[in-house]
Amino acid sequence: MVAPAPVAATVGVEEFFTAAIGRALELGLASPEDVLAYATPEVLAEHLPREEWTKLLTACLGAPRTDARLVVDTVTVPVLCEHVPFGILWACLAKLATRALGRGLVAPPPSIAPPPSIAPPPSIAPPPSIAPPPSIASPPSAPAPSVSAPPSPSSAAASASVTTPPPPPAARKSEPVSATSPSLVAAAPSVPEPLLDVDQARVPEPAPLGDPPSPPRKESPGATSRNLIGARRPQASAPAVIPPRKADLKTQPPQPKRASTATDFEIEADLGEAWKKAGADPEPVDDDQLIDWSQSEETMTSGESQDRKR
């Protein structure tokens, strides 16, 4: 027995819409604004009877605030479904269903994917050219440019929440040692590259150099060579770091020195082995070659005891 579905009496349809929309409002799946987005004032003016308008106007005048909820509560869903065209009610219901089924959320996912790959890099690149001077004076000033960059890459407003996470990964890359302060981490990457230009602008800002020195030294073991150089330059005394740079600027002369140092190191290693071998096989020594340490004042801590031992 298959009932004839197409019959669908008007009353039945109204009841259906009343149940569907009313239940959606009860369950929080729909808001009065959703209903009034379709049952607009123009629609209501055209289809609601005068007595319903009288009630609505009275309620609106008596209420401190007029909003969609007041309209829906006053007119009531059954009355709306009784007078508003089914096509409009259906459009409203279809929108609610589309939203409930997640079909309307097709756009957001794509916005989520790109931010991580796009947002961080641009934020890191621009700061160096702009931030150099401030980064030396005070680390906290550098993070500002990096923060301003993330929001811009994401075109959609919804993706703004997603763009915020990206900065941390960038910071993680820049700062391997300390993850406690992201702002300081963000400042670190901006410091290194601008330093070349900073050296020229370094004279007018001698005072702030006192504080920065310590953090860069902490980063030096794990950080890249650029980070190390950038961090030490601000310091007044950084002889170990500056010479290599001067050498690099002067180009060729220092390079041979590096080669020689490598060989020297090998020689030292050989000497060490030779010394060990010498200790294993003592060579004969004449008495003239021996030194009487007891006569030297520097080594006489307890001369008597040594004499006794001899």
């Binding site: 009932a3 039945g12 799946l29 279809a94 089924l101």
Partner: protein
């Protein structure tokens, strides 16, 4: 938007649609096909449907829906299927296009 709220909402719409004869049990089974039912209903419900049909001597849409109630449908069947059923009925009744 919680899943429970959406389930209750679809249960209400299916219940109202059937009660108001906007669509019939047969219309529901055109969308909630045997394949859909078999892939989504738990075994105990499948067993119950079969047992009821065997006891009655026939498996009709009405009898299936006696077991697979709107509440059960909203809990186990994909809501997209239920909405397609509602939308098809609305279109068939001329609701979607206007009064």
């Amino acid at each position: 938007m919680s899943i429970e709220a959406r389930q209750r909402w679809f249960a209400t719409m299916m219940e109202s649609g059937l009660t108001q004869q906007i669509f019939a049990p047969a219309d529901v089974l055109r969308h909630a096909t045997p394949e859909v039912l078999a892939n989504n209903l738990p075994p105990e419900l499948m067993s119950k449907v079969l047992a009821a049909s065997l006891a009655a001597g026939a498996m009709t849409p009405e009898r299936v829906l006696e077991t697979v109630t709107p509440d059960v449908m909203s809990r186990h069947l994909p809501h997209e299927v239920l909405w397609d059923c509602i939308a098809a009925a609305a279109e068939r009744a001329g609701i979607a296009g206007g009064r």
